[in-house]
């Protein structure tokens, strides 16, 4: 089945130690997104790629970076994780917005713990 895959599902890192979260998709969608979701809150968009075009949200800290080496893969790099970065990180994809639908397809998420 076509899908959005996130690895690992659970990640533990130490305070200040760089960490990379991975996302891959078999949907061949143009757009890929990274969201941060804290407990009992809505997902918060960090940034998105439209093909290779990177778009950062204005309030996304510099500590968060992303790479998209090809259509299928997208990575979230947290350069120096703080305790406040502990959260669920969701990857999502969509087709060209507005062509048919604005639906975003979400992966299962990576739960990040910072010790």
């Amino acid at each position: 089945d076509a899908m959005v895959i996130q690895n690992p599902r659970y990640q533990v890192t130490q305070f200040g130690k760089p960490v990379t979260l991975s996302c891959s998709q078999t949907l061949n969608h143009n757009v890929m997104y990274w969201y941060q979701q804290k407990s009992s809150q809505a997902p918060k968009l960090l940034f998105h790629y439209y093909d290779k075009d990177f778009n950062n949200e204005a309030d996304t800290p510099d500590n968060f970076q992303s790479r998209r080496p090809n259509t299928s893969f997208c990575f979230l790099d947290i350069r120096s994780p703080g305790l406040g970065d502990a959260a669920m990180y969701l990857c999502a994809t969509s087709r060209n917005p507005g062509t048919e639908t604005y639906e975003q397809y979400f992966g299962p998420g990576t739960r990040l713990t910072v010790t």
Binding site: K38, Q41, A42, P43, N55, G84, A86, S94, T101, Y102
Partner: protein, 112 residues
């Protein structure tokens, strides 16, 4: 660890009853709306969408109603089942590239 989150509004529903989840949206220019269901430990899952040129749309056991006058969206779930227990988010899409603006979410708890 993670900061303490907010407490989500909770809707407690008896199995077999109908559920109504409400959402107020903020941008009168938003022209597309989506309801997502998120089960514990999983990513959001698409339920149903509606464009602003419609007032109502029906899916399997779900109906979305849109009232643009008061910027209100609702999701009705018929014959609620234990598997419907989850957090439900509405999301609005403003004209442009398709950014989803999520509402706060409602926790639905189905009791036997």
């Amino acid at each position: 660890g993670e900061s303490v989150g907010l407490h989500l509004p909770t809707l407690s529903v008896q199995e077999g009853d109908n559920s109504i989840i409400n959402c107020a949206y903020s941008n009168s220019a938003s022209d597309y709306f989506i309801w997502y269901k998120q089960e514990s430990g999983k990513g959001p899952q698409f339920i149903i969408d509606i464009r602003s040129n419609m007032d109502k749309r029906q899916g399997q056991r779900v109906t979305v109603l849109l009232n643009k006058t008061v910027k209100h969206l609702s999701l009705q779930i018929a014959a609620t089942q234990p598997g419907d227990s989850a957090v439900y988010f509405c999301a609005e899409v403003s004209p442009g590239w398709g950014k989803l603006q999520f509402g706060a979410g409602t926790q639905v708890v189905v009791t036997p």
